[in-house]
């Protein structure tokens, strides 16, 4: 060990090197600030998205579809003649990185499209409140809209909405006793489970047994054993990611004959591919866009087809739920800016609150009291048949 004095000399020197490199880096980072001069001022949209870490499977789909929507709008001449300029920042699936990204973006952005990770969004929202910048959230957490944050607008249907749509399906299908299993570590799942229990009574449904598991769980025979010994007529599972797949595979082998009901988090190939044949016959709630091909011709069908065609052409597979969210988010923002006649933040906010727009996710109707926008009407209850999502009779009736 060297003497402390020498250590400190080193310290002072290395610190000055560090400072210098910091300054250089920051200068380099700041280099893009002045761009966009000349011609029409572009509309600057910042996107905070999880490109690395746990939520990257969602984030990459968000980013692809946001970029696709921006390209399409720009190709069609922009919004009010102004092009959209997109700046993307990775939050690494970490809330504090989302805050960093927000701070980097806020001064140079007319609006922000938010992270698919609910913790990131919730960390950013206090800053959104302070900065008063329109924030289009791509995560469904109910906490974002309850209470209403003036500048925060949520795109995906929230867990509570999914729960209510499922209850409507149960009521219509005369399933009055439903077993519930949920991931205690996922805020989406916890919110969904709570929503289901809270509203079950209104639809004449009793929820029993209630089973808990963890995101890391790989084995679910205990849940199936408990459900088998109950009189439940369906099993509804709230989960995201890996456990949903493992559970579905094991459910297929469990010998249970009652319907397995899953939610929007499973309405994509990210679930269908790994689950394989085990997913056959599983009931999955999704946004209507996922089953766009079964929609009757009309405004909604057109909106869905526009995305599906463009997305499939570019990436080679149909757009999953998270892609629909990203695409819808950009559409909503563009419509609001158009309506506000510019990028004045307060005006865009007001425009969003009075907006009604049909996107691949359904028809949004934001209001001062409701920043969620989607109703249960735009949630389809589907069954997996031959590896595809097919609307149940209940939903086909509704779609007509």
């Amino acid at each position: 060990m060297r003497g402390t004095g020498q250590g400190l000399r080193t310290l002072s020197r290395t610190l000055s090197i560090a400072t210098l490199s910091l300054a250089i880096t920051l200068a380099a980072c700041g280099g893009d600030e002045g761009s966009g001069a000349g011609g029409d001022d572009p509309i600057r949209v910042g996107q905070i998205v999880s490109l690395t870490g746990n939520y990257s499977p969602l984030g990459t789909e968000n980013q692809k579809s946001v970029a696709l929507a921006v390209d399409k709008i720009n190709a069609d001449g922009g919004v009010g003649g102004r092009k959209i300029e997109l700046t993307v920042r990775d939050d690494k699936s970490l809330p504090d990185q989302a805050v960093l990204a927000f701070n980097e973006l806020k001064d140079d952005s007319d609006a922000i499209i938010g992270s698919p990770f609910s913790n990131s969004a919730l960390a950013t929202i206090p800053l959104v409140d302070r900065e008063e910048i329109p924030y289009i959230s791509l995560t469904p957490a109910d906490e974002q809209i309850n209470p209403v944050h003036p500048y925060v607008f949520v795109v995906p249907a929230t867990s509570a909405t999914y729960a209510e749509a499922a209850l409507q399906y149960f009521q219509a299908s005369k399933l009055s006793k439903v077993a519930l299993a949920y991931d205690t570590k996922s805020s989406y799942a916890v919110a969904g489970a709570k929503g289901l229990q809270a509203k079950a009574g209104q639809y004449g449904v009793t929820v029993n047994p209630i089973e808990e598991f963890q995101t890391t769980a790989t084995e679910f025979s205990a849940i199936f054993t408990h459900v088998r010994s109950s009189d439940a007529q369906a099993l509804m599972v709230w989960a995201t990611g890996a456990p949903a797949v493992a559970l579905t595979k094991q459910y297929a082998a469990s010998g249970l004959k009652i319907p397995l009901v899953l939610t929007g988090a499973q309405a994509s190939k990210l679930f269908l591919d790994p689950a394989g044949p085990a997913a056959e016959g599983v009931v999955i709630a999704s946004s209507v866009g996922v089953v766009g091909e079964y929609l009757p011709a009309g405004e909604l069908k057109t909106a869905v087809d526009e995305l599906t065609t463009a997305f499939t052409a570019k990436y080679g597979y149909p757009p999953p739920q998270f892609a629909q969210d990203g695409y819808s988010g950009v559409k909503l923002l563009a419509a609001a800016i158009e309506k506000a006649g510019g990028t004045d933040r307060a005006k865009v906010r007001d425009a969003l609150e009075g907006l009604s727009l049909t996107t691949p996710n359904g028809t949004y109707a934001y209001s001062a009291a409701n920043h969620s926008g989607l109703t249960t009407d735009f949630i389809a209850i589907n069954m997996v048949q031959a590896g595809k999502f097919v609307p149940t009779e209940f939903s086909q009736e509704k779609l007509k």
Partner: protein
């Protein structure tokens, strides 16, 4: 009663997966004194390759073998970096394997993307004493048993196995009799890689695999291995099975919300009891 039996058999199936990861850790640790943090990555890489091979039409069996082979090769490569430089202490090697585990993320995402993968295993349902379980669990148990038997035979009956055990028992003496300890260490890494790969290949059909599945594997594997002080493959097998059964029983009769804690608290307790019994081993980490 049939519930209990079902939990136990399923627990054994899960535990066999843990045991394979654990035995890979043990195989490497005995010979090199390195706790290999990249052990979970072997499983992930093997499973990913198997999924790709099956997807491109390679028949079952061959695809799985390919996965295990990739595990072994990866093990060897990790070994070369972790212990290849003369004078690398086990503590340093531990941090190197930690780094290589993260590097594996980059490689996996580059090649296979960040989406989960899975492939079908043994289809259908088996009934054991009135309890239903996925038939694939029986395959896992059926493969794990002979693998451990072959390992026991290899270490106890073949000269190469004895040489590996010799390195584990007394490194200096092994050098004295002319055993190339470093080469044996690399062999151990390759064996550990193959065992890790086998774990991944076998367990993926009942679950799925993502690039970061390795954390759960390594934690459970370490918990199983630590029961035998990281040096006894037989105890690691017992540890893995115990851990698997404990988890299914807790989920079955307690609740599924605390499964992770069960494994971790068990691991901590075992380590602390062992340390209290043997006294702190002076082993600096770096």
């Amino acid at each position: 009663m049939s519930d209990l039996l079902g939990y136990i058999v399923t627990g054994l199936g899960i535990g066999a997966g843990f045991a394979l990861v654990a035995s890979g850790l043990v195989a490497i640790y005995r010979v090199t004194r390195v706790v290999n943090f990249a052990q979970g990555a072997f499983a992930v890489l093997a499973a990913m390759l198997t999924a790709s091979l099956l997807g491109s039409g390679v028949p079952h069996g061959v695809a799985e073998l390919g996965g295990v082979a990739l595990g072994a090769i990866t093990g060897l490569l990790v070994g070369v970096v972790a212990i290849g430089r003369p004078g690398t202490s086990p503590g340093t090697s531990l941090i190197v394997t930690l780094g290589l585990g993260v590097l594996a993320y980059a490689i996996e995402i580059l090649i296979w993307g960040d989406q989960p993968r899975s492939y079908p295993g043994v289809p259908g349902v088996a009934e054991v004493g009135g309890a239903r379980l996925q038939a694939h669990y029986l395959l896992i148990v059926a493969v794990t048993g002979p693998v451990f038997a072959v390992m026991a035979w290899f270490f106890a009956r073949t000269d190469l196995g004895k040489a590996l055990s010799a390195c584990a028992s007394n490194r200096y003496a092994a050098q004295v009799v002319g055993i190339d300890v470093r080469r044996m260490g690399l062999l151990a890494f390759a064996i550990g890689g193959a065992l890790g790969g086998l774990a991944g290949v076998l367990t993926t059909p009942v679950q799925q695999v993502t690039f970061d599945s390795d954390v759960a594997l390594i934690v459970n594997g370490f918990a199983a291995a630590v029961l035998g002080g990281l040096t006894r493959p037989g105890v690691a097998l017992a540890g893995g099975l115990l851990l698997g059964v404990a988890q299914t029983l807790v989920a079955g009769y307690g609740g599924g919300a605390y499964q992770v804690e069960v494994a971790l608290v068990l691991m901590l307790t075992v380590m602390i009891v062992q340390a209290a019994r043997t006294g702190p081993v002076a082993e600096t980490a770096r």
